[in-house]
Symmetry: C2
């Protein structure tokens, strides 16, 4: 037994039946009581476990989901989504294989080819760099699901209601009396061209900001809106961009009393900038993040818009499973984001 795992043949021989009978007790079927007990004891004795490769070959199904992630180490967001997928997958006897493309379309292509080699039953993207990469899967007949951002309209898409989430953040600040609120966030222009649906993450968040500025008659100053990337893969400090923007904001003749940074990593950089300027949060300035990843670890603990990362992953897996098994999942699902108030927001000074 030490040398090589027991196969269904070993079980059959031990039980004095054929492999077909063993299979029947395993999968359910007409088996006599005698045969059943014989097989069951043989099963126990051998400690038989089916060989997943043989089964996969035979069933033309690998029971494996490929997860294409941007970069699991650079933003905890991805680890949390992956975790959600993983748990849902395990519960359904699926396993997952990860691949990080680091926003490099060529690498993503490589990863997709690996997925095809692995005969994954479906692929989850969070998020894809490029619609042409997705087309590779179409050719192989492998279904896929997009999370967070969408590059195509054909595949099911699990999204988050970024508009409402961002709006909650703004309303919270307004209620605290802030009227000079800065926005530090992703530039819609960077992502939008790639987006195939009505909403790009960045656009939604920015729209919520702008709408609230209008609606609540906040100070409008173009210098308060700072757009760019959330973080750079190559920067030694991912929050560098948030740091720079915040420094610039604090040097304004009339600095904002609150900053809405639409990613906890940006917010982390903002906190560092504020710390360097020896300002006190929230007494001197309030700050709200987005994601709820680093938020709870920062000083002070960050008020942030929490994304349902694990739920997104789980919903994505469910879609994938539907696709695999020939059911038609919703083409689009929107999950809510929710403001979590912690210690980084307070009444506007003055």
């Amino acid at each position: 037994m030490a040398a090589g795992n027991p196969t269904i043949h070993d079980v059959a021989k031990l039980a004095g039946v054929s492999t077909a009978t063993v299979n029947r007790v395993l999968k359910g079927g007409y088996v006599s009581a005698d045969a059943r007990t014989a097989v069951e004891t043989a099963l126990k004795e051998t400690g038989y476990r089916p060989n997943s490769m043989a089964r996969g070959l035979r069933m033309r199904r690998s029971y494996t989901i490929g997860q294409m992630l941007t970069e699991i180490t650079v933003n905890p967001f991805f680890a949390n989504v992956a975790q959600g997928v993983e748990n849902a997958a395990r519960a359904n006897n699926y396993r997952t294989v990860l691949f990080n493309h680091s926003n490099d379309s060529k690498r993503e292509r490589l990863g997709i080819e690996r997925f095809i080699d692995d005969h994954v039953d479906a692929v989850l993207f969070c998020t894809s760099t490029d619609a042409t990469n997705l087309a590779l899967l179409d050719r192989s007949g492998i279904p896929y699901v997009e999370l967070e951002r969408s590059r195509t309209t054909a595949a099911p898409f699990i999204r988050v209601d970024n508009y409402t989430g961002a709006r909650q953040a703004m309303v919270h600040l307004v209620e605290l009396g802030h009227r000079r609120v800065a926005f530090v966030g992703g530039d819609p222009a960077i992502q939008l061209p790639n987006s195939r649906r009505g909403y790009a993450v960045e656009e939604e968040r920015l729209n919520a900001y702008r709408d609230c500025v209008q609606e609540f008659d906040l100070l409008t100053d173009p210098r308060l809106v700072r757009l760019g990337k959330y973080y750079s893969m190559s920067d030694t400090f991912p929050g560098a961009s948030g740091y720079r923007h915040t420094r610039a904001l604090l040097e304004l003749d009339q600095p904002p009393t609150a900053i809405f940074a639409t990613c906890d990593i940006l917010a982390a950089g903002a906190l560092q900038a504020i710390y360097d300027c020896r300002l006190r949060i929230p007494e001197d300035i309030s700050i709200v993040g987005f994601d709820d990843t680093l938020a709870v670890c920062l000083a002070p603990a960050l008020t942030t818009v929490s994304q349902p990362m694990a739920r997104m992953g789980a919903a994505g897996f469910q879609c994938a499973l539907d696709l695999i098994e020939g059911r038609a999942p919703l083409n689009e699902q929107t999950l809510p984001a929710e403001l979590v108030v912690r210690a980084s927001t307070g009444r506007a000074p003055g």
Copy 2:
């Protein structure tokens, strides 16, 4: 072609040769020039990719490594190690499958059984909860490697020189004039009973602290040594333990001028406590972390002992591959940890 991927038979038929010949041009062997070109064009035309399950079945090798992690979402340390493993694995045509046991030995057991079902070629642990779980693999003849912590002496073990790393942190503080240095760290008593080798992570770090206190004649006060868990899986805020310990330290009649927190998550909690007490870092108090995970994101950016997480993962994979292919890797490898000085340490006040 859309329905079903091309097999080696398709290629053979198209090229007008046998599957054996196709295999020969794929794997290298005696093939006539004519046959070779015919096969090569057929390969291109079909876009043939070998079926990894069929190959795995035939070769009795899955080209898959199982990674057993404590919990990828709770500490970025694990994501970084996993990333290191992953990259090394990909470079060697291996894939990895993750499993998080959340410090639950039963869950770990479950995961190992899944790995056995998957016929993984080897398992990497970072870290195992329990030596009896490892024994399951022995019975299946699956080799394994331990990272960071060891529960057995048989398997190769990739460790970090925690003593020297921690010592660097202490020397750094001493050089800055600190004489009242607190230690907030893991309790050796929690982990040591499980450890099968001379060094437990916690013991090494604590020993370095104690040795330095002696050697540099620092203040010895048992109240300055705060032991416990790095973080709790269930706490809403992982840094809670660091927060509590730090609050207690700051309430001492003679609070420390520096804190060595032996995990960035603990340090994050310490930063929050210090922030709440309206003390300024490093002017009022210095703090050093360990790991270099959150460090760069905290305010102020944390001076910390950097662990070679990706290297540990890569070295672990190499060991696993050696084991799989019948080579004998070193039973133990020690990687260095290195102090990274950032903004949270400065001259002792007063």
